[in-house]
Assembly symmetry: C2
Homo-oligomer: 385 residues x 2
């Protein structure tokens, strides 16, 4: 059910010819109210696509009526013409929905530099088709339409005491902090005030999507949007709601990790006993971005020396000669020296669990990444063609 | 001739059984004087191998008699036993050469965690063999003995007005800033004062080895050493000497780039018109570390969008929407938008030239990197085996 699981939302996904495969490529999600609360977080890349520039302004008043999303073209670095395309898309959706264009967010994904006249016409006609097809059952179709190199649509739903959260996500590469090449729309029928929506969204993404670092590459188009309409009439406990939103976001993040381009291992990097959560994240991310470590995991090689070489580049507090490292339950390094023989580590399962015990504090953080594989190189060496 | 090209240096390379292939794996370079000036720069990784910890102390007085180098084991994260191995190696060399152990530098390269009793015995016997084999023609043999996954020995020689500089380098992966997994020994018969040697070495490495970033991974064992004996009796103009040392270092750096593990392209990233050299290096390095860009170059795909997405993650001063990008002489992006069609770019040659014009200042810097290939993944997925 995806984004249409909560009451008061409609969605659709249609094929507008943006994808050469003819698969669905334009999605629309509409909030039917009564409240039109919206919050969004965006890529921190300074190179931002036109839809990001538009949506950052549009969400500033925290009122969002609808989100229009397309795959098959990022509309990034396409100049003034590209920005006009985004603007016209919002105008078209607003006109058909009877709302203000300034309350319509736009998301695009695909190749950077794509955004010509043909692209514009197809996005506009796709928006029109999708709005004509809106339905309270359209969540799954919308989730299909935002896929690029994704092999499966990613959706999640959580229901609690009278309210529901639904979400859809796309992303299969360029997954890095400050979000990834991910587009996420999350809906809820809980009653949230605008500032509350903003706060819980930032809290949830900071713990989940921001800690997914598949390949260290940050996208120009990332956006995670939360729409809240209060249709359930239930005012949730804010901490309960934040916990549920974090759980749903983590479920989507894990699905993104599991579908990362060419990956053969999903690696969970758990950093323990850091002096701060920030230190733990920095240490985890340094490993998540180390190509040598990631290639070793692809080869089922428990090369813990590469873990230590990676974390040695950070500024986090710890003694490199008093660190323990565990791989899939086997302690391969104790106090910065060899422990159990590497032969005891079985890295053949896709799920890979790395524990780094810094032994200096009480903070913990987990970063998710993938291995570096032949298929990753292959998929990304010919993306444009 | 490598490190024995300048007068007053002897070297040797021997096989001590550290490499399973039976190839040479221990090298010694000895300064026969009259001066025994030495300077060295080391990895900035906090995870440092035992030879680094030893050599940092040994070089502090800027007197160096000899350097002992081994491949076939990094002696990193091998605990107190490993440090004793390094210490014993320096003692053994000092005893045989009739010098102080505190004037012998040690370098090791190979798998992290390797440094057991067998390793120790082989390094010690290799040191003995190599010292017995020292000769004024031994430079090439020494260059052979420090190779790991290198496919060719890397040496360079420059002669000027009465003085000569010779160098050898090893490194074929884990090439990143603050040096790479490189061991470099440079010798000269010019007359240099200790502080001058230190200054020119830092100036040269900062412009050359520190701007080689093959795979973003920083080693635990990197060391670049300069030995100066004044045997020529010539006091060089310091700027002339620094220029020659930089030229020789760049020649070795380019040879390291050209032999990087699995690479099919040598990429020169030239950042123009930055407000500072530091900004230019930061921008260049962000591209050098972007896996998506590097995979695209492997696929001969002039995907300039990935260049902009990479530089957008930096803090350097520039407007992402007023940047020009050239690939192999074709301007593919002007003012942040598409320019010449990508079909005009021929990326089939191994030498790849990327120009990024930031248009905000007068500073320029060049960073060297390689593409991300199937062979890189393959070579690094089974390194331990």
């Amino acid at each position: 059910m995806s984004v249409t699981a909560p009451a008061g939302f409609e969605a659709a996904g249609v094929a507008a010819g943006l994808k050469s495969t003819g698969k669905p490529d334009v999605a629309v999600v509409v909030n039917r109210g009564p409240r039109k609360v919206g919050a969004a977080v965006f890529t921190s890349n300074r190179a931002k696509a036109n839809p990001i520039i538009w949506s950052q302004q549009a969400v500033a008043d925290r009122i969002v009526e609808a989100v229009v999303l397309n795959s098959g073209g990022a509309n990034c670095f396409t100049g003034a013409f590209g920005f006009q395309t985004t603007h016209q898309t919002a105008e078209k959706a607003a006109e058909l929905l009877g709302v203000s264009a300034g309350d319509v967010l736009i998301c695009s994904t695909g190749l950077i530099g794509t955004g010509d006249e043909t692209f514009r016409q197809r996005v506009l006609s796709g928006t029109e088709q999708a709005i004509a097809a809106l339905s309270a059952d359209g969540g799954d179709a919308a989730a299909q339409a935002i896929m690029t190199t994704d092999t499966v649509a990613k959706t999640a739903v959580i229901s609690r005491d009278g309210w529901t959260i639904g979400g859809m996500a796309k992303g299969a590469g360029m997954l890095a902090p400050g979000l990834a090449t991910m587009l996420v729309v999350i809906t809820t029928d809980a009653v949230l005030e605008p500032l509350q929506a903003d706060e819980v969204l930032r809290r949830a993404t900071g713990q989940t999507f921001d800690r997914l670092d598949s390949d260290g590459c940050m996208s120009t188009n990332d956006q995670v949007t939360l729409l809240a309409n209060g249709a359930s009439g239930v005012v949730p406990d804010l901490d309960d709601f934040a916990a549920a939103l974090t759980e749903l976001s983590q479920e989507l993040a894990v699905k993104l990790q599991g579908d990362a381009e060419g990956a053969s291992h999903d690696i969970t990097i758990e950093v323990q006993h850091a002096v701060s959560e920030q230190d733990a994240v920095e240490v985890g991310r340094s490993v998540a971005r180390n190509n040598l470590f990631k290639a070793a995991i692809f080869g089922n090689d428990p090369n813990w020396g590469r873990v230590l070489a990676a974390i040695g580049t950070t500024n986090a507090q710890f003694d490199p000669y008093d660190v323990d490292v565990w791989m899939n339950g086997v302690r391969v390094c104790t106090e910065g020296g060899p422990d159990r023989p590497r032969e005891e580590v079985d890295l053949t399962p896709r799920a890979t669990h790395l524990v780094i015990d810094l032994k200096v504090g009480d903070s913990t953080a987990t970063v998710l990444t993938n291995d570096l594989t032949h298929d990753y190189v292959h998929e990304n060496s010919a993306y444009a063609s």
